[in-house]
């Protein structure tokens, strides 16, 4: 069965990601040289930047898969978007936790309206909206389309948000801002960063595939139950009210509220 293949790929990628992340932590704590001006707090950079990269990568997948889902209507595309959104939300949260932890030492304040930090916060809220729409929409098929629309509209607005928050900062200069990542990064630091980027990307792909496999199974179970086909469980009750998502055969004629 193809779910088996997805599970194996998820285990391999996720396993490599976990190993890489452990190795990354060893590099961060024991190997990489300490940055001259900021001291040891700069080491959080190797967690922070890869997380941000994955957060935006995931959002790209959400928007792209959502757009193609609206076009082709293939359920797997919606499950792809959902899986990417859940992984992306985790990494966006990591960015938002590690950023202020670093900033309080480097800049002397937990929060500043640094453009990239602001953009990440807004991204987090766009993800939040995505999940709220998915969870609270009454018609399960509509929930998938609504979520795709939220993902696409968020993605087309992100460049404009980015430009505007950058411009706003240039309007109100903040002299405390230090550039952690200059173009003259020490080769050891660059290597550590690359290991971080690679490990987090693998870790994300592992989580993403795992979640995708779960979403496919949920869908198949709901589909079989709705068809009344014998389920592999011994007492396959066809009227299980706890079906997570309704299959397509439930009918497009979903009752509008009243």
């Amino acid at each position: 069965m193809q779910l088996g293949r997805i599970g194996i790929s998820a285990a391999i990628l996720g396993g490599l990601g976990v190993l890489g992340t452990l190795f990354l932590h060893w590099m961060v704590f024991f190997w990489v040289p300490t940055e001259a001006t900021m001291g040891i707090v700069q080491r959080i950079f190797y967690i922070h930047v890869p997380s941000a990269w994955v957060a935006f990568l995931a959002f790209g997948i959400v928007a792209l898969a959502g757009a193609v889902y609206l076009w082709l209507g293939d359920e797997r595309l919606d499950q792809t978007a959902l899986a990417a959104a859940e992984g992306g939300m985790i990494f966006t949260t990591i960015v938002l936790i590690t950023g202020p932890l670093w900033a309080v030492i480097a800049w002397g304040t937990y929060w500043t309206w640094e453009p990239r930090l602001t953009l990440t916060l807004l991204l987090w809220f766009i993800y939040l909206g995505y999940f709220l729409v998915r969870r609270t929409t009454e018609n399960p098929q509509a929930a998938k389309r609504f979520a795709a629309v939220v993902g696409i509209v968020g993605a087309v607005n992100i460049p404009l948000i980015h430009v505007s928050v950058l411009w706003f900062r240039s309007l109100h200069p903040q002299p405390v801002v230090l550039k952690a990542e200059g173009p003259t990064l020490h080769p050891d630091m660059l290597l550590t960063l690359m290991v971080g980027l690679l490990s987090f990307t693998l870790l994300f792909l592992g989580i993403f595939l795992l979640r995708f496999g779960v979403a496919r199974m949920e869908y198949e179970i709901a589909y079989r139950e709705a068809r009344g086909a014998p389920s592999p469980a011994p007492s396959g009750s066809p009227a299980s009210p706890a079906a997570p998502s309704s299959p397509p055969s439930a009918g497009p004629e979903a009752a509008p509220s009243e």
Partner: protein, 226 residues
């Protein structure tokens, strides 16, 4: 093209007539605006801060809040009465329905925005600068983008159990460009800057309005699909 515009204006007309007869949204948005002005008055110490210095930001935030109040109800009546199905079954393209909804919402939100300026000007003795038409263009462009986003997303929230309480969470993150450029342009005009100083902001607001309106017109059919 003529048929398209005719269909579009028929829906706009219908919405505005319904609004004029029920006055639900006009009254709640208007009352909200005046009362926010009253509350703001007690939210600051005039011996320390000049209202003129804060006015541009207050005005835009109030426009956003009162706008969300009205936009959240775009599809309320039609959903509950089942009339949306009637509109959808008419031989009108989906994007025309969307643009018509945006236009009728735009008229309402612009009325509210003008009321915000009038009330705040009266309450706080503001000076609006010497380019009222440019100011109007700034407010109208920002409001158009905001209305497009709000109209699209109110179609989404109407289908959720959270209803219009979900609307701000969906819309506000995307309003950052509008608030940044709108407030900067408005503050500049209030301070008497020449028009050339704010034209860049106006262009960015136009970009925002174009992106949101086109995205909404293209995606609306997936919102109302049954």
């Amino acid at each position: 093209m003529r048929g398209y515009l005719g269909q579009l204006s028929a829906i706009v007309w219908k919405d505005l007539v319904v609004e004029l007869r029920t006055k639900e949204r006009i009254l709640s948005m208007g009352g909200f605006t005046v009362l926010v002005g009253v509350l703001f008055n007690y939210g600051l110490d005039r011996s320390v801060v000049r209202p003129q210095d804060l006015a541009a930001g207050w005005i835009w935030v109030t426009i956003v809040f009162t706008g969300v109040l009205g936009l959240g109800r775009t599809f309320e009546m039609e959903r509950s009465e089942g009339a949306l199905r009637g509109v959808l079954m008419s031989p009108v393209p989906r994007d025309a329905i969307f643009l018509a909804k945006v236009l009728s919402n735009f008229v309402l939100t612009m009325l509210a925005a003008i009321l915000v300026f009038a009330i705040f000007g009266l309450f706080f003795d503001l000076s609006f600068g010497s380019h009222p038409l440019v100011l109007l263009a700034v407010v109208a462009t920002g409001t158009l983008g905001f209305t497009s986003l709000g109209t699209l997303y109110s179609g989404v929230t109407a289908g959720t159990t959270m209803g219009d309480t979900l609307l701000p969470i969906l819309v506000f993150p995307l309003l950052v460009p509008m608030v940044i450029y709108g407030v900067t342009a408005t503050a500049g005009l209030f301070a008497g800057l020449p028009v050339s100083e704010v034209s860049g902001n106006l262009r960015m607001l136009m970009a925002f309005a174009l992106i949101t309106t086109f995205a909404g017109a293209g995606l609306f059919r997936f919102i109302v699909e049954e």
